[in-house]
Assembly symmetry: C2
Homo-oligomer: 458 residues x 2
């Protein structure tokens, strides 16, 4: 294995791709990519080095390049744009819907300036404006491509407008026509297909649905999800504080944002902090995403384990207990993690409120005690058979029961507490829980041992 | 706290809800629910006991009951239907789109029979047919509500049909009109709004887009996601093996299925097996979801910890090492979990293929070694200052480095291996990884100690 090359010998697709890129024949590249199974072009593109990526997205016809770029994650697509000539980058950026353009600009940070400068002035301004909204709000998710007409517009004028702008509108996700007053305030909505069923000479005012459901630009993702759960709409109009129409938030974009937030949560909960990690990123970047959690949990686990230090004598006298300590703390960690996952999920589904500590404890206690007793008895029996020491097996069994119970209750309420303190439950629950359940497990086991077991050597 | 009641004293909304239910005045209930913040009605409804739930969904007007039921998860909604009179259950079931009807029927299993019997015969048959498809495939996700016309249909006839069936179609997510031949095979597609722009007297054959993109009923979720990533369509037609139109799979439903699968994955990875857990379920159900993983991991952790048993003498002689053993195994677990999460995510995004072991190991090794060395030196320094024992701190530091490195590499490739063996990476990776990293950590530390440290007592 050569250390630097991105091509393991086994990856024949990647080798062929590299080769085609070096030969720079656009049509060969297009054909090669078109014949790959779904998703494979994206995988290969992310494996290329920055230079090769730049070449690829410059050589390909705009449509093909855009399609491939749309498949990639925002972080990765931004990386590609960064290494292209600004004109090409601006051209490609223009193929994205406005909300994704804004995401890309936000991701590029200061590097976005030259690309924005290469865009038509009005487009650049509208993208910049969109990128000001917080990502997981109606404003951050909305698209600026929508149809809006004055109340007095006749149906036939709408149809004429659709005909004249058919090419432009074909990129719109337009299922609705919005109706606004002279101050651009939202007053009504129509489904486009309703226009098929009415006389062409009447104004929209007479056929529109009045006072349609609308959302403020700062409505958070969770509330949007609940709205779309209740109402099977394709999209909802987004308005500012004085009810002016700003954009449309689509149900698909809201669902997609949910998936992305669940994906981030999974990474966070597994200890990958400060943003998404892709293995195609450089290693310093990746180390920095993983180091903080490792450092924090190392420190906390050291604190928890120092309990063992207080009881060195006890442990020396009953060294067989050393085998069971990690088993006891592990049971606590596992039982706590289960409760943690259920709480984080119920919080995000709105099935539990952050103040409902008692309800959660009651629900967790029963599961914790049942599982704890069954497995505590099991492990105590193993201990008894193996070590032939009744007192030791009582210590181990009781420690398992207590630690499983405590961990389940704690794991259940920790996310609620963090949510009340405005912290991200997925981020902070893991390390805190692990430290507490370790500490609790060691403490219970060693305390019991200290009191129940005879001091062998003294 | 009374053990049986679902109402903690603090939950005034729930108490009021309970009270209103007892008084059985439908209009009061409707008003109460309408004034709750978004999501709160759902939370309260899930907290009711089965009887009270039955009363609620019987008393409420059909529209309100349906809206509330639509907000709930499929598992919970199925539970509600189970406790209603069959006529009411059938009525409520009828308000769901066909794909969710099928999900509910699948969830209800044999209990679905009486409800199906209360539905109109053709509806029951079509739902039953839909429920045969695997949930996360095009067939399982598609809706049966779509518009299809023969090629020879005139535009004006389509419009007349839309007018006649406006009420029924208003429930349809119809953005497209499909065109089929005499054998119901898909031959074309039209956007409904395109009908606005054409002469009303020409047949669909002349204006339709021919050979539209279509998907087979057994196309899995991952492939659907990639298709919708590439093409910004609202929906795609689903066909059987001879190209007959079966239904339409909507982009929103595909995105929603992704969120649900990520949600299940988070639970699976946290050790909640055999289905979703809600705390509103009864405790035996919940114990059964958590017990298997606790039992498996207990067994595996016992095997790993038994390594400590082999080295009891070594540990007795260097009892200070006992403090560091859980720290070392914990570092391995954490480092491995990070790599695990990244692999599971990259696999599902299609950024890594199950055969790319070498690539993953190379990418993980560098991150593992950097983090391991930094934290290994840190912990060795702590050990040196605390215990004033150079050899012990070398043992601890080296063990941390080795275990962090091994765990990162293993965590990275385990999901790939499981995927190759057709197992669910999220399900199996956790327990296997924890056992191996524990074992590896203990073994390295105790082996080093055995060779480097002087035997105190002998």
């Amino acid at each position: 294995m050569s250390g630097n090359k991105a091509t393991p010998m086994s990856d024949s697709n990647l080798a062929q791709f590299d080769d085609l890129l070096r030969r720079q024949v656009a049509s060969d590249l297009t054909e090669f990519l078109a014949n790959l199974p779904p998703g494979e072009a994206k995988r290969l593109a992310t494996r290329l080095e920055a230079n090769a990526q730049g070449q690829l997205f410059t050589l390909l016809p705009l449509g093909d390049a855009a399609q491939l770029l749309h498949e990639m994650a925002i972080v990765q697509a931004a990386e590609v744009l960064l290494h292209l000539q600004v004109e090409r980058a601006a051209e490609l950026l223009g193929t994205f819907p406005s909300n994704e353009q804004a995401d890309l600009i936000a991701e590029l940070k200061s590097a976005a300036a030259p690309i924005l400068a290469a865009l038509p002035r009005d487009v650049a301004q509208s993208v910049l404006k969109l990128s000001q909204y917080h990502a997981d709000t109606a404003g951050g998710l909305m698209i600026a491509e929508f149809l809006a007409f004055a109340e007095s517009t006749l149906v036939e004028d709408v149809i004429e407008d659709l005909r004249l702008n058919a090419v432009m509108y074909s990129r719109f996700h337009a299922q609705y026509t919005y109706v606004v007053d002279a101050e651009q305030r939202l007053t009504g909505v129509l489904r486009l297909r309703d226009l098929l069923l009415v006389e062409r000479t009447i104004p929209l005012r007479e056929i529109m649905t009045r006072s349609p459901l609308r959302v403020p630009a700062d409505m958070p993702l969770d509330d949007l999800l609940r709205l779309f759960d209740r109402h099977p709409y394709f999209g909802l109009p987004v308005v500012d504080s004085v009810d002016r129409l700003l954009g449309v938030v689509l149900a698909t974009d809201v669902e997609e944002a949910l998936s992305e937030s669940l994906d981030r949560r999974m990474l966070l909960a597994s200890g990958v902090w400060s943003g998404e990690e892709y293995r195609s990123m450089n290693w310093t970047n990746r180390v920095m995403r993983r180091f903080p959690w490792l450092a924090v949990s190392l420190l906390l686990s050291l604190v928890a384990a120092s309990v063992i230090g207080w009881y060195e004598e006890t442990l020396t006298a009953a060294i067989a207990l050393a085998v069971f300590l990690p088993v006891i703390s592990g049971m606590g960690g596992n039982s706590g993690n289960q409760a943690l996952a259920v709480s984080i999920r119920e919080l995000s589904l709105g099935l539990v409120q952050p103040r409902e500590f008692l309800w959660v404890v009651r629900k967790e206690a029963i599961v914790g005690i049942v599982n704890g007793v069954i497995l505590g008895i099991a492990i105590a029996s193993v201990c008894l058979i193996w070590q032939r020491n009744l007192l030791l097996s009582v210590v181990v069994g009781v420690a398992i029961i207590v630690n499983t119970l405590v961990a389940a209750c704690l794991g259940g309420i920790l996310p609620l507490a963090l949510k009340r303190w405005k912290l991200d439950p997925a981020l902070a629950s893991g390390p805190i829980l692990a430290a507490i359940t370790d500490l609790c497990g060691f403490l219970v086991a060693l305390l019991l041992a200290d009191n129940l077991l005879p001091r062998g050597g003294q």
